[in-house]
């Protein structure tokens, strides 16, 4: 697939504060990219720069082989949906959707047809003459989406589109937006702080922190192969340890030696171990076995998360691990129970600080 949008070396300063530092990335045609990061990481600024609502201090943006860096928003080709929906409250659903169609010299029938088509697409045909105050949050969001899509823009920008909605509606709309995007094949960039949203919807995630891109890649890659401590910690839950190099495949944590599959290069580094990769071990045959005491059990529904105080050689440290609920019940594991856990070599991954 072809490169549709490319952001090259974009910097943005607000006075002394630098909101974006040397941001580079490409978006392929038809791709769904999520810009993910904590609040204040610059993700919304980046989206606004792409839309032309904010001008970059340095750098270039190309869309469809055209340099759009200096164009005002009304000369760029995009549709946008905001967190607040920004539906015109005094216009009906129909007039909201047709708002962007009227200058295109289309006749009334063509406009009506397009509005019907879009309402069908978002499943709101019955609400054509309602005002936004008469719609639920989820319905308003879909109208906003239909309005943004009405002029068939080349690029769809979504700014935290789901964060104002209830959890259930949000889950439902996630799938719906994803399917719609796939059906229309419109190149989409969504900004979100919700990792679950990004993991479920995106073809590719661009993870941002403090104005820089920390990591980009498919949701699977970002989750299973985090390259930095920030990525590992921001997406999902994880254990991070400072380690010393012993050999190319063994490390030292708090005085204890562990085998690992990763190739160790630096003398001192950080490793991440996902809680679900940690097993309670009955046999002494497994590698990297440690004893510990259960300090806390958090009930998460299908899972139980244990905070275990592990006795490393020189000191104890808390390790978080996930267990199936039945396992905990069956083995009668409670607070202060002694357990053996195995930090398996393949689960130990080196990340950058």
């Amino acid at each position: 697939m072809e490169k549709y949008l490319s952001v090259k070396k974009v910097n943005k300063h607000f006075g002394k504060f630098q909101a974006l530092k040397d941001v580079n990335f490409d978006v392929k045609e038809g791709e769904f990219v999520c810009i993910l990061g904590p609040s204040g990481c610059g993700k919304t600024t980046l989206l606004r720069v792409i839309a032309g609502l904010e001008s970059q201090s340095e750098g270039e943006i190309n869309q469809n082989n055209k340099n759009i860096s200096q164009l005002p928003p009304d000369q760029r080709d995009f549709g946008i949906v905001f967190q607040s929906y920004a539906l015109f409250p005094n216009l009906t659903v129909k007039n909201n959707i047709s708002f962007g169609l009227k200058t295109r010299k289309q006749n009334r029938d063509a406009i009506d047809k397009r509005v019907d088509e879009l309402l069908n697409l978002v499943g709101l045909s019955d609400h054509i003459n309602k005002y936004s105050a008469q719609l639920s949050g989820g319905e308003q969001q879909r109208v906003a989406l239909a309005r943004a899509l009405a002029p068939s823009p080349g690029l769809l920008l979504l700014d935290e589109p789901l964060s104002a909605l209830d959890a259930k509606v949000r889950q439902h709309l996630r799938l719906e937006i994803k399917n719609l995007q796939r059906k229309l094949g419109v190149t989409t960039i969504m900004v979100t702080h919700d990792q679950e949203e990004a993991l479920t919807m995106a073809d590719r995630i661009i993870l941002m922190n403090k104005g820089v891109i920390e990591q980009e890649g498919s949701p699977q890659d970002i989750y299973s192969k985090p390259t930095t401590a920030f990525s590992a910690n921001f997406i999902g839950t994880t254990n991070l340890f400072k380690v010393k190099k012993i050999s190319s495949n063994s490390i030292e944590i708090h005085g204890s030696i562990l085998e690992c599959d990763d190739d160790i290069k630096d003398d001192v580094s950080t490793v991440t171990i996902r809680p679900e990769d940690i097993k309670i071990s009955d046999s002494e045959n497994n590698q990297n076995i440690f004893t510990g005491t259960v300090k806390e059990l958090e009930f998460l529904g299908s899972n139980i998360r244990g905070h275990i105080e592990v006795n490393f050689k020189s000191q104890t440290d808390i390790v978080i691990c996930n267990f199936a609920s039945e396992y905990i019940q069956y083995n009668n594991i409670q607070k202060d129970t002694q357990v053996n856990i195995s930090l398996q070599p393949h689960a130990i991954k080196i990340v950058k600080d």
């Binding site: 995009f78 905001f82 920008l157």
Partner: protein
């Protein structure tokens, strides 16, 4: 970033409004300032005028008088208005709507009407003159009573707003912590209303120190700054000294304005969108006391208005008390006759129409346009300035600027247009703030969505922004109309024989000794403003609701 057509259009409109304010405010103010440094022949003489001003003890004494009147009025008005506002917001007494409406009456009449009324009540032939126990109503006592009447609604509005933002959650917290109601008052109510009260105090101070109608009518020999300006210009044709006194008058007004702006900014911080409106608890005794208090104040306000009404209908006070419409035969008196009244209606209508367009467009560009940060802040700053300029000073400044033979805008002098321009400018700031407040409540993303949909900004403006803002737009219009009907100070130097105004006629008839016709003309202004207000209420309640059905949840 490359400029789009929208950006050029925005720049164009901002410039037009900016130029308008420059011509209507900045240049005239410069003219009056430089005039105060000139002699009669127009030569620059430095501080000589100021020197002779400060050597004239009777003129300087006016500064003391003005400050005295303003501070005493401020204390009385704020105390009275605070309790009234407290009753309206924190009690469950009956008749809140009625009390509120009565308290707003003074806004609908020219300030000097209360002076006239006091003359009938306590003057030499007044009904209750014995109540003064030998003291004279002509002088500080009369001025202060009349000024309290005139400033009461202005203070009330600000304090009511400040008290109603009190967050219910704080009251609940206080209750759960078993705080006594006195303690709650001092720890919750008062702090949240503090800035409102301070702001109201400065507004009252500015209104009084810059008002000249009341001291002119009832001040007797008690001189104040505002009257000095008038006397220097109209009485002695000493324009340079008028300019000097104007500058002395601007000084405290500017300080009050600056303090008010700083305080207002702090007020905003208290208001959060999550605040919950506080519903007062029922307390029979408290409600009765408050009802009694509000009744007393309302009776006093109605007495002052009622006295005027009665005086305007009495054939010849105090000798022939039969009622007639003789005093309404304005064409038989000085002051311009009925034409003044019709001129006032025309002037007020033009002011409302053009003023609303200019102000709302100005507020829109300040709040909603993209880019042009400097231009927008300059426009906002210019829009805030008129509030600091007393009307009398503005009017005098207009003489110096527009009547200058070299000014290409000289042709405006003596026309209806200059009255309209002056009045719009005089009342610009409050209207600007009304527009700004309403626009701030509209999602800024509307403009962004529109530009992403490739729509010009004016389409969004006319199809979305204006319809949503209709209530505020009407509010601005009515504010302009009512104030244009009652204002004296801004226009008293600017009317010509063809453009006499009703409010000025009140002043002139009173000056000529025709007090009853003056009261009658004042009442005409009241009837008109009251009618306009009532029509406005009907429009907002009935017609606007139909155009705004999108605000309701049900279809």
């Amino acid at each position: 970033m490359k400029k789009s057509r929208d950006d050029y259009l925005t720049l164009f409109f901002i410039s037009i409004i900016g130029i308008y304010i420059f011509i209507a405010l900045a240049f005239p103010m410069y003219a009056i300032l430089s005039k105060s440094f000139e002699n009669k022949d127009g030569a620059f003489i430095g501080f000589e005028n100021y020197q002779s001003y400060f050597e004239n003890s009777s003129l300087v004494y006016s500064i003391y008088n003005s400050l005295f009147i303003s501070i005493v009025t401020m204390v009385i008005t704020i105390s009275l208005a605070f309790v009234f506002a407290y009753a309206l917001t924190k009690s469950r007494m009956a008749g809140k709507g009625m009390f509120r409406s009565i308290a707003m009456i003074p806004i609908l009449v020219p300030s000097l009407l209360s002076g006239i009324s006091l003359i009938y009540l306590f003057g030499k032939q007044g009904i209750f003159r014995e109540l003064l126990m030998g003291y004279e109503i002509y002088g500080p006592i009369g001025i202060i009573i009349a000024e309290v009447f005139y400033t009461f609604p202005h203070a009330l509005l600000i304090i009511v707003t400040a008290l109603s933002i009190g967050d219910a959650r704080l009251y609940e917290a206080a209750k759960v912590l078993r705080s006594k109601s006195i303690r709650t008052f001092f720890t919750v109510t008062l702090p949240s209303a503090k800035y409102g009260v301070i702001s109201a105090a400065f507004v009252v101070f500015t209104l009084v120190i810059t008002d000249f109608g009341i001291p002119k009518v009832i001040g007797g020999n008690y001189n104040v700054l505002a009257v000095d300006v008038y006397k220097q210009v109209i009485g002695q044709q000493n324009f340079e000294m008028g300019a000097v006194v104007s500058m002395v008058l601007v000084f405290p007004a500017l300080i009050a304005f600056a303090v008010d702006r700083i305080v207002q900014r702090k007020q905003v911080a208290i208001l959060t969108s999550r605040s919950v409106v506080h519903e007062p608890n029922e307390s029979k005794t408290f409600d009765r006391v408050m009802f009694g208090y509000c009744s007393v104040i309302s009776v006093l306000i109605l007495t002052i208005l009622g006295m005027c009404l009665y005086a305007s209908l009495v054939t010849f006070w105090p000798y022939n008390l039969t009622l007639s419409l003789k005093n309404y035969q304005f064409d038989l008196m000085d002051g311009g006759g009925w034409d003044s009244y019709y001129n006032s209606i025309r002037m007020a209508s033009y002011t409302a129409f053009f003023g609303t367009i200019v102000v709302f467009a100005g507020a829109y560009f300040v709040e909603k346009s993209r880019g042009l940060k400097t231009g927008r802040s300059i426009l906002h700053l210019l829009s805030m300035m008129p509030m600091a300029i007393p009307g009398l000073v503005l009017g005098l400044a207009y003489i110096f600027f527009f009547n200058h033979p070299d000014n290409p805008l000289n042709f405006l002098y003596g026309t209806m247009a200059i009255l309209v321009i002056c009045t719009i400018t005089h009342f610009y700031t409050v209207s600007h703030l009304t527009g700004l407040t309403s626009l701030k409540q509209i999602d800024n993303e509307f403009e962004h969505v529109s530009s992403s949909l490739k729509q010009p900004f004016y389409k969004t403006f006319f199809r979305v922004t204006v319809p949503i803002s209709l209530p505020a737009i009407f509010e601005i219009g009515i504010y302009f109309f009512v104030n244009a009907m009652t204002t004296v100070s801004a226009v008293v130097f600017l009317y010509s024989s063809k453009t006499t105004l009703a409010s000025v006629a009140v002043l002139n008839m009173d000056d000529a000794g025709d007090i009853a016709p003056a009261a009658a003309m004042g009442m005409m202004i009241f009837y008109t403003n009251a009618a306009v207000r009532i029509v406005y209420v009907i429009i907002t309640k009935k017609i606007l609701v139909r155009f705004q059905n999108w605000r309701t949840k049900t279809s």
